[in-house]
Symmetry: C2
Subunit: 516 residues, 2 copies
């Protein structure tokens, strides 16, 4: 319960909801909020905002119809801004890309792939999950996009490290068991007497018994939490073999895998739109107006003027009052502009990160039928890094596994292969975890190497530091604003693109309202 | 990977699927499987089984159309057994009870409640979740019941203990942080030198840094895993206040809550049928045939005969070849029978356990809108014990919270209250966690005290020991078989009822096949 802060924010959001941005900014002043706190609030522009100021909505050209560009156009559109989106790719959405049967995926320096999935099956080639605190979920609600759970943590999934495969529940039970035993031992020999009181030691020991499922004398001797060969029913079931020694458990190297969901970005539960992540693109596009998006328009020049911005693309050009450049920085950096050397330097600072995924379509959901894995992720130190099991379509005929979701060097390794070799390698690796069935019942596959996607050329970017280049580009250069997940601390998340768009929309709208 | 065991079992299941139970039993003999291993397998009876033996399906009377009785009838029906189910209540399902607007819930020694929920809203008054390894999920698949995730663990839900409320993610981060710090400290002062090698200590310390998100010198100084007042976006966000001291964190008493999903029964993910748990009852009933279920039939006498079983109820009676008594033991114990003193004693051994739930219908899903809690459970040491947030209907208008789900003394406390007083008390308690909004926007409520449900009179039972009475009743008394979750190690789970039914069906079918 965050108490006072929540209440004040709640009040402001309420004022914003009822009275629009104008009323909210006024209220923020009345409450004595520092400007920096304004970032915490977002009130969408409304037509009514102009009635106070006597100003009118401006004309805005938006470069890139990814999630950032679409969100900016959507929010500005609420107040009647005249937005045009220029998208170099054949369709809107950017990295929010859901592939289905009949789609064709082009690749730089590689062959195009035809997606051969059957009816009702899809593959989120880009973002696949949403944390509940993220603004992405607000857009799902506002746009009427039904959501469902994305299983990000599954006790029945596997951990495959150092060549051994165990269920996640087993790996966790063993690590927790031994940790609890060791700490109980240290407590009982008096090693913590200077650190904590005897009474606290008793509380700690009680917790450790529970945490590690310790036996008599605080020993870890295995636990039913590890799972069973045959689960209890008529009888008490058949437990797994006894756990390895502490040395063996430590050597297994499962630590990274079993702490994977501890962070605020990956914690359980997570969510996904029903039917594919691109529902967000579809609904934003509908709300913005399909006719406002010009696809196949590769921008060639950005010119900031005293009274507007001129943007040229191959085969056209337009002038608008403002521009929002919602392209990846390394793509934007290649476009000639007159925004100054500091912009050029700043755009050149973030480093593209490779990321890749493969969708493996099976005609039989063996992971449910045989492994009892319903959604979730198997973690491995193999170069495939992860296997994702689908969190939807349970018990249906077909299903698409994500056979790898890797980054950096592993992604580059797969990117360098032809699509059929990526599949072959992914199957060889997955077989080490799942056995022969991993190569059986495979119907089709499609792989994406984000660093080879036209006009995107990277999974996301990494800032060496969140330095002055980062904050510099959070503000406009003349009449040109910059937007994208790469300008937030939510890089690689759609929420970052949306938050960045909101920040730019707020700045731009305030400027229009305050302009002479 | 369970290797050999899985393979042999897979083979048998395959034989069972293709050749039916008769072929499978033969194969088990050929493989030299001990009889005890037969419990691990289930092959449903088939009409073809009789063609080998020259026998025919028998007539079976089943007492109780709860999940055990329905499952037995369903499986026997596959081979053409002539089953009649006698159900004392007004409808089938037993404790698998989903309440919707228009339903009326009777109560022993208490007023009936009219359920006033709006359209599309429901309340699983009995079982609410299914673990993926449970046979319940197989029935969902076989019966074509769509399933969805039941969120059983939510980092954003609260832990309310000793009068304080924190997010589960915060409680967990603090406990893990301090545990890791303490164990690192013990390691670094050499307290574990005799227990583990120096090399293993290094591996352990690396894990502890990750596990506790420790800072320099292995100190826990808080972590972004605790959550934020404002999550990162344009800036790095506003973290929560610093964690309490180790003493404060231990004194907070969150240990039980944060280990709640460690066991194999409660581990993430769990599942529920789409639209309400009673989809299982509906589909089983359809498969069995509605006309085979006689409701309002309270059994008054069970007579085992040399050539069959006679069952009498208020207003009728019938004779069948076999009987399956699928009633709670304490209900069955009250019915006169000629099955002998050992049966009477055994039926009197398990002790009914009180359990209660309240469904609170709100006109606004404030837990999603304001608390960003999408499904999951808040754990508390208040007498309400749990608050469940719905794992479906996200972002819709209405929603039903489970305002308490408690057992034993807490359940008895609420059971003794009138329905409006249960609601009042539940709201008073929930307000301590959620504040005033917990009492606002409430549209209606309905509460169940399972110990006061006619013909059920308990949430489930507890065996003082799983002693000879337990195993005795797993075998027939004459021609009378006993079935129910109470005869398994999955008490209080539908899977227990189903596994028990399968065991009885297997025994009965083998007997019929082998009978002279």
């Amino acid at each position: 319960m965050e108490g006072a802060a929540l209440t004040r924010r709640g009040l402001l959001v309420g004022i914003g909801a009822v009275g629009g941005a104008g009323a909210m900014y006024a209220a923020m002043g009345a409450l004595g909020l520092a400007p920096s706190e304004q970032d915490k609030q977002f009130a969408a522009p409304r037509p009514g905002d102009f009635s106070l100021s006597g100003k009118g909505a401006a004309k805005v050209v938006i470069l890139g119809a990814g999630v950032a560009g679409l969100t900016a156009a959507y929010e500005l559109g609420k107040a009647g801004y005249d937005c045009t989106l220029l998208e170099a790719r054949e369709k809107a959405g950017g990295r929010n890309l859901t592939l289905r049967g009949g789609d064709r995926l082009a690749e730089l320096n590689g062959p195009a792939q035809d997606v051969r999935f059957g009816e009702g099956v899809y593959f989120n080639a880009g973002p696949g999950r949403i944390a509940p605190w993220m603004v992405t979920l607000d857009y799902c609600r506002e746009l009427g996009i039904p959501i469902e759970t994305f299983v990000n943590n599954n006790a029945a999934a596997y951990v495959n490290t150092n060549g051994r495969t165990v269920r996640a529940r087993t790996a966790r039970a063993d690590m927790y068991g031994y940790i609890a035993e060791l700490l109980a031992k240290a407590t009982n020999v008096g090693a913590l007497d200077r650190a904590i009181s005897k009474a606290d030691q008793e509380t700690l020991l009680e917790f450790l018994r529970r945490f590690g499922d310790l036996g008599p004398k605080h020993r870890y001797e295995g636990s039913e939490r590890r799972g069973f060969t045959k689960y209890p029913a008529i009888d008490t079931g058949t437990p797994l073999d006894a756990p390895g020694t502490l040395h063996q458990v430590l050597a297994a190297g499962t630590g990274r895998a079993i702490t994977n969901d501890f962070g605020y970005e990956q914690a359980t539960p997570m969510f996904q739109p029903v039917g594919g992540m691109d529902a967000i693109v579809t609904k934003l596009t509908e709300a913005v107006g399909r006719d406002r998006i010009r696809t196949g328009a590769k921008v060639t020049k950005i010119t900031n003027l005293a009274d507007g911005v001129e943007v040229a693309w191959e085969g056209g050009g337009l002038k608008a009052d403002y521009c929002i450049a919602a392209l990846p920085p390394h793509i934007l950096a290649k476009i000639p502009h007159n925004l100054g050397a500091q912009v050029t330097t700043a755009l050149g600072t973030p480093i593209p990160v490779a990321a890749g995924k493969i969708g493996l379509e099976y005609g039989r959901r063996w992971w449910e039928l045989e492994d009892r894995i319903y959604g979730g992720v198997t973690e491995t130190d193999l170069d495939i890094t992860h296997i994702w099991y689908p969190s939807h379509g349970y018990h249906s005929e077909r299903g698409v596994l994500v056979g790898y979701y890797n980054t950096e060097r592993n992604a580059e390794l797969y990117a360098a292969l032809a699509p059929e070799d990526r599949r072959r390698r992914a199957l060889t690796q997955g077989k080490k975890i799942h056995g022969d069935k991993y190569r059986q019942n495979l119907l089709s596959s499609v792989s994406i190497a984000w660093d080879r996607q036209p006009h995107i050329q990277g999974g996301w970017v990494r800032w060496p530091d969140f330095d002055s280049s980062f904050t510099f580009l959070q503000r406009p250069a003349g009449r040109v604003y910059f937007a994208g997940d790469w300008l937030t601390h939510l890089i690689a998340w759609q929420a970052g693109a949306m938050e960045s768009a909101r920040s730019v929309v707020t700045q731009l709208h305030q400027r229009v309202l305050q302009s002479a």
